[in-house]
Amino acid sequence: MKSSFFFVAMLCLFTTDLYAIDLDALIRHYAIKAEKENPVFSDFDLERGKNLYSKSFISGKKDTPSCTTCHSKDPTQIGETRAGKVIEPMAISTNPERYRSLKKVEKWFRRNCKSVLGRECNATEKGDFLTFMKNS
């Protein structure tokens, strides 16, 4: 009984640890993926990330042309979903609790890139975006 409790406790600890992550670790994760996707990849670029965040696209869904449709134009500020729910800031400087789970980050990139760009983002775009958020 005692040993099974210990096993479950260790499993929980391991599972929690697996998802406990920070922004730097996420950026490293996408750098590895970007190198695999693109042989000439050198590094992430803050300006490219900023541009991706602010740019309006016509390839996605018409109600969400840009990240800034729901997130504030200034990522240090709160945003609002189209249904009126507050979105906490994207910038790590004003929201240090963000970017703690790769699973969650991947879920939102998948959905929101499809909504805004009409396709999934590649690893370079994800890394650029996160680099912008790290420095905002």
Binding site: K61, T64, T81, R82, A83, G84, K85, R110, R111
Partner: protein
């Protein structure tokens, strides 16, 4: 006597027509409530929830898709949560034909009947997406109470 009063009060609270209920499943609450007010499962018939959950990649103009396991879990909750069978008072699903099941709660005859005195302009003006924001007028909606306050 005190016990009887409490019992009567409790019975009254249960029968309160303004107490619609809340989403009790943490995963459903987190996923639905991430973008909008987590509408109680009693507000739409099963056919509507199935239609919504099968088309999350285009959810009112946005991609809100979920992994298969989460989708299945939430679908099960929305269509067979205990609150749905324990809620004989409400008429949200009354008058809805299965083949014409709306995916917007604001298109159910019950919702329209309850809000007929408010003009479309009033509903849509002032705060963006007001129709979807129950909490603007129903201050205790997060607790499942939909009295106009």
């Amino acid at each position: 006597m005190l016990f009887l009063s409490c019992a009567l009060l409790a019975a009254y609270a249960c029968a309160d027509k303004n107490h619609v209920g809340v989403i009790n499943d943490p995963e459903t609450k987190e996923e639905c409530g991430g973008c909008h007010f987590a509408f109680p499962s009693t507000m739409l018939p099963t056919a509507s929830w199935l239609e919504i959950m099968q088309n999350l990649d285009n959810h009112f103009g946005e991609d809100a898709s979920l992994d298969v396991r989460t989708n299945q879990h939430i679908t099960n909750y929305l269509t067979s949560s205990p609150e749905r069978s324990e809620d004989p008072i409400f008429g949200f699903t009354d008058g809805i034909q299965e083949k014409k099941s709306p995916i917007r709660i604001t298109e159910t005859p019950y919702w329209i009947g309850k809000h007929f005195h408010i003009s479309e302009e009033q509903l849509e003006s002032g705060l963006a997406g007001l129709k979807a924001r129950c909490t603007v007028c129903h201050l205790r909606a997060e607790s499942g109470i939909f009295r106009y306050e």
